[in-house]
């Protein structure tokens, strides 16, 4: 079952990718969707078994590397953690596959698109089912590669290519950290298999390392390096710049990769390595701070964006920040829970926005929309469901997970925890405001699009709506149904078992009532505020932005991260590159290296030919010279 689960997407991808021309567009769509759906069903069954029977298994598919002490297998590890990820990945993937049939209906390269999607699914599955760091890294790079393909799917668009390259390059920074982390792990433990590494962790707690001239505890260094990898993939602050640009890809891709699955790989990595992170309080604090900052930063930026997908992208960034600070305060299960619920409502939001974009014929600016809720009733309702879930409206999924994060952060009891809880509450408010801004600007108010008439707007086809409805069901009920399983105090031992390690049992105190109530209250209050700001009195936000120009610009330009990177890294590295190319390579290396050597040899060759004069006496003389040279050499030698 596990093998089928893992390899069906691969088979689908190969079929569609290599034989797509022969079997036709429609067949490749059906095959990929069908295979991935089966995969999703299998993972649901697996998930059920894990819940009921505490099923655990490690299927070794093949031995990969067997060299010295390095023994690495291709394996499928099934436990609570990976089963949750399996469900998220395959379910969202299957729905996105189906949705893509509708969304990509006008695209000439459907088989290629479906092949990439399935290949991505396969890579993501290898990532989550790995039982060692190397296979994890394989999956990690695999999803990065597929992400590159998919962002740059419309490769004729320059911006798409640039975005794809940006995503790849920024991820490289994170991957470098991850690779170093894996190297360090192998160096210290002589193995990269999870179980063996985790067992040996307590032995190296007090070990010091000299890294870049700094004495640092080995465990801290490992954790920081791994976390840098996670930051890259999960678009945390400093390495987040690729995520908004990645919205150049088709919207289903954004839903699948940049909302539900790939970007959560970082969170998964941290949770998977909880047995390591638990021993490094320093890193946990760093994670908390980074996560909190990202959550806040992304939410503020989302407030002023006008591109519908970028708003959701920043929202994703922000929610990922929540997950990280949940992990940072030691509540890994809560992080997983938020990952789980977030997958539903964020995929819903993305696919919903895709539906809107589809209806508006590829218009993404929310200022160009409005007043279409009657034209797109299903999309409107579904988007509202997604928004409610995201903002944490009581009893929808986001409510349970986000509140739990804030509570656990508060219960952590240290400065970082309190601070995080505070920022979490404030960010929740911001989230609510920008989410409702999106809804109001898109569906309500006045119709602002001059390119097409309002009459031409029509609802998306059923094949696109069905996945949305399914996701909406998930967004509504996932939190309520699974909260006991994921985050109740028993679940830490019962459901999660060995897959997550808690050094100290989670704080079982009940947080004060006000902290439970404050978030929902703020969220509820924000709805009318948003309505007032963006529908009733549109001048107010404008006036506000006019009067606070610097702040507004600061936010619109995303805290000037891109500009800063441009100056610090891109321009300078371009200059260095130019220097090395024009001066070092062409003028020095080429001149004395390849070009110099080749002209030298040409010269020598000419001389050697000339040397061959054709006169016998010269030839004889040459023999004698050779003889005397050898004799002299031997006498002196």
């Amino acid at each position: 079952m596990e093998i089928a689960l893992l390899f069906l997407p691969l088979i689908a991808s190969i079929t569609s990718g290599f034989f797509g021309k022969f079997i036709g567009d429609r067949s490749s769509e059906i095959i990929t969707s069908f295979f991935v759906s089966i995969s999703a069903l299998l993972s649901l069954i697996l998930f059920y078994q894990v819940i009921v029977n505490n099923y655990e298994n490690n299927v070794v598919v093949a031995s990969w590397i067997n060299s010295g002490s390095l023994n690495v297998n291709w394996s499928i590890k099934v436990d609570a953690l990976s089963s949750v990820m399996l469900v998220v990945v395959t379910l969202v993937s299957a729905l996105v596959h189906i949705y893509s049939i509708g969304y990509m209906s006008h695209d000439p390269h459907k088989p290629r698109f479906m092949a990439y999607l399935s290949l991505f699914t396969f890579a993501m599955l290898t990532l989550v089912t790995s039982d060692n760091f190397l296979q994890l890294f394989f999956g990690w790079e695999g999803v990065g590669l597929c992400s590159y393909f998919l962002i740059g799917f419309w490769f004729k668009k320059d911006s798409a290519n640039a975005a794809a390259i940006k995503a790849f390059v920024v991820n490289r920074v994170g991957d470098f950290g991850l690779v170093l982390g894996i190297f360090l792990i192998f160096h210290l433990f002589g193995t990269v298999n999870y179980s063996e590494v985790f067992q040996q962790i307590p032995q190296i707690i007090d070990k010091d390392l000299l890294f870049l001239g700094i004495h640092i505890e080995a465990i801290d260094l490992i954790c920081i390096l791994l976390f840098i990898g996670a930051m890259g993939k999960s678009a945390q602050i400093f390495l987040h710049t690729w995520l908004p640009d990645a919205m150049e890809g088709p919207t289903p891709v954004s839903a699948l990769i940049h909302a539900a699955t790939m970007v959560t790989a970082g969170v998964f990595l941290v949770v998977r390595c909880s047995p390591i992170f638990e021993y490094s309080p320093l890193t946990l604090n760093i994670i908390t701070v980074v996560g909190m900052t990202t959550a806040f930063f992304a939410a503020t930026v989302a407030l002023v964006q006008t591109d519908i997908k970028k708003i959701i992208a920043y929202s994703t960034c922000s929610q990922l920040g929540y997950m990280f600070f949940a992990a940072g305060v030691g509540a890994y299960n809560v992080a997983m829970f938020h990952l789980f619920t977030h997958a539903f409502f964020k995929a819903l939001l993305f696919l919903g926005s895709g539906s809107i974009i589809h209806s508006f014929k590829d218009e993404q600016n929310i200022n160009q929309m409005g007043a279409v809720y009657k034209k797109l009733p299903y999309t409107w309702i579904l988007m509202i469901v997604g928004t409610l879930a995201l903002t944490g409206f009581p009893f929808l999924s986001g409510f349970y997970s986000k509140d739990a994060i804030i509570e656990f952060a508060y219960l952590k009891g240290n400065t970082a925890g309190y601070y995080a809880a505070g920022v979490g509450v404030f960010t929740a408010l911001l989230t609510s405001i920008y989410s409702w801004r999106l809804i109001f600007k898109t569906f309500h108010g006045t119709y602002n699009n001059n390119k097409m008439k309002i009459e031409e707007i029509h609802e998306s086809p059923i094949v696109m709506l069905v996945p949305l409805i399914l996701l909406a069901i998930g967004a509504i009920f996932a939190g309520f149904l699974f909260k006991d399983l994921f985050i109740s105090h028993e679940s830490a031992n019962h459901f999660w078992g060995d897959s997550i390690k808690f050094l100290k049992p989670l704080n079982s105190d009940h947080p004060p009532l006000w902290i439970i109530l404050i978030t929902p209250t703020l969220v509820l209050l924000s709805i009318p505020v948003a309505y007032y700001l963006f529908i009733k009195n549109k001048e107010l936000p404008n006036q506000f932005s006019q009067s606070n120009r610097p702040l507004y610009n600061f936010l619109v330009n995303k805290w000037y991260f891109d500009e800063l990177y441009n100056i610090v890294f891109i321009q300078s590295s371009k200059k260095i590159g130019l220097f090395f190319w024009k001066t070092v390579d062409i003028k020095i290396i080429d001149k004395f290296g390849p070009d110099g050597v080749s002209s030298l040899i040409k010269n020598l060759s000419l001389r050697a030919s000339k040397f061959q004069s054709g006169f016998i006496y010269q030839y004889a003389f040459m023999i004698l010279i050779g003889l005397s040279a050898l004799l002299t050499f031997l006498i002196l030698y």
Binding site: Y617, F621, L624, I625, L627, S628, L631, T632, I635
Partner: protein, 210 residues
């Protein structure tokens, strides 16, 4: 022994001087004569160490055959003309300094070797060789030439064969239109082939076929 030594040095001196003269002499005919002189003195040296067969063979083969052949060849060529060609090469003059250096180097290096030889104590003196006076030189040579060295002897034959084939291949030309004497047809000619008796009728004459 004194006479022996004196003659040895006389013949050696003649051999060396004539060898030098072979190369130095500008007249090719003189060179060949010096070569003959060289051969003769060397054969004398052979005879002095008791190798009378080798000495005689030397005289017969080299002086009697090879050198005389050389002489013929040299005399058939235009010596005067060649002289100019061979010794007035413009190119070679610039090689002379390097050539001198190289030859001096090799010369001194060979002196080192000879110097080593002189101090080699266990070199066998020639007089200590015991010679069986009963067996003649020719006999002794034949004894080993046809036993221990039979294969070399035969192979030398092959070498000569190849030399012969080579000489024929490179020089022999079948020329057409050359009138040759055919001994066979000359001898086997019968009266009946050559003479025909015809009765000539008066006032008619004879008509020949060819």
């Amino acid at each position: 022994m004194l006479a022996h030594a004196i003659f040895f040095y006389i013949f050696s001196f003649i051999a060396i001087v004539s060898a030098i003269m072979v190369t130095v002499s500008k007249n090719t005919v003189h060179s060949v004569f010096f070569l003959i002189l060289d051969f003769i003195s060397i054969s004398c040296l052979f005879i002095m160490i008791g190798a009378e067969f080798l000495g005689m063979i030397m005289l017969i083969v080299y002086v009697g055959a090879v050198a005389v052949l050389f002489l013929f060849v040299v005399m058939m060529l235009n010596v005067a003309q060649q002289k100019n060609q061979w010794f007035s090469a413009r190119e070679s003059s610039k090689h002379i300094p390097i050539g001198l250096i190289i030859s001096v180097i090799i010369f001194f290096e060979l002196i080192i070797v000879i110097g080593g030889w002189k101090y080699k104590p266990d070199l066998m003196p020639a007089v200590s060789l015991t010679m069986d006076k009963e067996i003649s030189n020719t006999h002794a040579l034949g004894n080993i030439l046809y036993t221990d060295y039979i294969h070399i002897f035969q192979l030398s034959g092959m070498v000569l064969l190849v030399a012969m084939i080579g000489a024929i291949v490179l020089t022999f030309r079948q020329r057409s239109g050359v009138k040759r004497q055919s001994y066979f047809s000359q001898i086997s000619r019968e009266r009946s082939d050559a003479v025909e008796i015809i009765n000539v009728e008066s006032n008619k004459g004879v008509k020949f076929d060819d």
